[in-house]
């Protein structure tokens, strides 16, 4: 694609095989953004890239990225060509909570994937965008980070940390009066691979396309933190307001 005054540039999608990420990618491509899909499974990324390119007529490339290898992240970021105008981080691992409780290696993998790896790569984005004076970072956290629950507190702890990181980063840019945006997305249940083996309540489960639409609306507007679907804002408000003596007895 040739650069023109209306070319909005490329967006880097971390976790390029995620179903939520792909729905966002399609929505961005419809607006003319080029895409860089980054992740571990080169064949799967290539398959998605070809599909997006044919459907939307934008340039889509792939890049190899592993959240569990933070040492490689600076070189990864330098290698991106063209340099991204924005980043979507959809890396995530729900894992097996039962295993994590008895095997700290798995617990650490959940923290490393959902928190450490995301921070490490978004630090690269933050530095680059700060130098350029513009850019956007969309981080997909989770409602699971709003309050720790018995069923997934390693994942939840990592997402809580990620939410705090994104909030701090946003505060940093806003106090510098720079034009870098940071958007925190907290989905509830979304029907993807991640939840395919879990029974999620049908009424509260969004399709990836709905989540993508909510995110694009945030990008167009001024919201910093969004829940997707909107009702999770109210569900989580109630859950956060429950006094601990009550909350600790719930099985949510």
């Amino acid at each position: 694609m040739t650069a023109s005054s209306t070319d909005p540039g490329h967006v880097l999608i971390l976790g390029g095989t995620s179903e939520i990420a792909l729905a966002i990618a399609a929505a961005l491509a419809r607006r003319g953004y080029g895409l860089i899909l980054a992740g571990r499974d080169a064949d799967a990324l290539q398959r998605e890239a070809a599909d997006l390119e044919i459907r939307h007529g934008v340039s889509v490339t792939t890049a190899s990225f592993d959240a569990l290898e933070p040492a490689t992240h600076p070189a990864f970021w330098q290698s991106l060509n063209p340099a991204p105008a924005g980043v979507v981080c959809a890396v995530g691992l729900l894992g097996d909570h039962g295993v994590a409780r008895t095997d700290f290696n798995h617990a650490r993998q959940l923290l490393d994937t959902n928190l450490v790896g995301c921070i490490s790569v978004l630090d690269q984005a933050a530095l680059a965008f700060e130098q350029r004076g513009e850019g956007f970072i969309i981080g997909i956290s989770s409602v699971a980070g709003d309050r720790g629950r018995a069923s997934n507190y390693y994942y939840g702890a990592a997402k809580a940390g990620f939410t705090a990181y994104l909030s701090g980063l946003r505060n940093h840019f806003a106090s510098n009066a720079s034009r870098v945006r940071v958007i925190t997305v907290k989905p509830g249940f979304v029907a993807t691979r991640m939840t395919a083996d879990h029974d999620t309540p049908a009424l509260l489960t969004a399709q990836p396309e709905q989540t993508a639409r909510d995110i694009l609306r945030a990008l167009d507007g001024r919201r910093d933190v969004i829940y997707s679907r909107w009702y999770w804002r109210w569900i989580m408000l109630i859950i956060r307001l429950l006094p601990e003596p009550v909350f600790k007895r719930t099985r949510l």
Binding site: R47, E48, A50, D51, I54, R55
Partner: protein
Amino acid sequence: MISGWGNYPRTGARLSAFCSLAELRTLLAGDTPLIGRGLGRSYGDSALAPTLLSTACWNRLRSFDADSGLLVGEAGVSLDDIIRVFMPRGWFPPVTPGTRFVTLGGALASDVHGKNHHCDGAFSAHVAWCRLMLADGSIVRCSAQENPELFRATVGGMGLTGIILEVALRLRRIESAWIRQHTRRLPDLSSVMQAFEEANDASYSVAWIDCLQQGGSLGRSVLMTGEHAPATAIAGLGQPRAPRALGVPCNLPGWTLNGLSVRAFNALYYRRAPRERTELADIYRFFYPLDAIHHWNRIYGRRGFVQYQLVLPPEQGRAGLPAILEAVAAAGQGCFLAVLKRMGPAGAGYLGFPREGWTLAMDFPARPGTFRLLDRLDRMVLECGGRLYLTKDARMPREVFEAGYPELDKFLAVKREVDPHNRFASLQSQRLGLT
């Protein structure tokens, strides 16, 4: 419980969608019978088995050559998808059935035909090649030139040779998304058959027959022919929007489609059809009138319905069609509309349905009287040297199938070579002894 489009029969099945070749290989390694499943628009039991390998996630576009129109898509890509992506760029599926909610895999496995069969042949005539995963997990590419026997067994082979992975389809160039449609009312069967012969060079043609008519008005029908409209003819019309479909939210009670309501509907339909008219219709209205109502199959209620589609050779059709329509009208089994079409020569598939002649498709509520009538129609079809379409079938006896498909032996030879342990088997293939 799951079923085909006719909601008859229903069976318990596990629906497994694969998202990678590795996942598909794992599924093949089990030992319950498997069959591919696309959008489930086949009517009967061709896409039913204990385990269904759904292509719902296997639906990516692989490549497109904007000079030649060659599109490579995964088996789960639907014609609806193709139309949405490519029609605005001036391309259209070379062959389309009466619904756009079918997958490339399903279209090839049934080797579907459209209103242009007399000119352009069936779907497989426009397929440059396909790739297939066999029962042992290996992947083979086949086409009319490459592994031709496997290709001929796979197109129209109802998923029994393996899982179709990708299809390379040659799209057709179109100048607009509009069809110049010509509609004519015809008072009886011989006049509509005559009109078909005269319209032989129309790109698309089809007739809707009012099945409640007998005697002098037997075969009273509305014939529709069409041509892709040139860009110059559609000034200002642009791209049509896919209509927002209305839905039938649940199965309707059995009495909805009684003879009286249907008679009133048909009379209205026939009267409302112009004696003769030419107009521009967008592709949705011309090709997919039924897609405007989601789940229209529910009007037949819980017990479901069966579609009966036959083809008769040209000469035998002259005598056979009136006899069949007469028998249907006399039986009063609730078939109110039949679709008639002139077909061109047979295609490559050993079990392909189309052949030179006349094809007639009718819906009947699934109830005992229907099955007795269809047994009688079977004999009439065989006497005329005709056959029935597998993708519509839920009940044909094995003898009727065997008599209608002279290349069955060639199909079975390939089947035994590529699938010696019958990993791929549907309720239909077991009923018909396709092992």
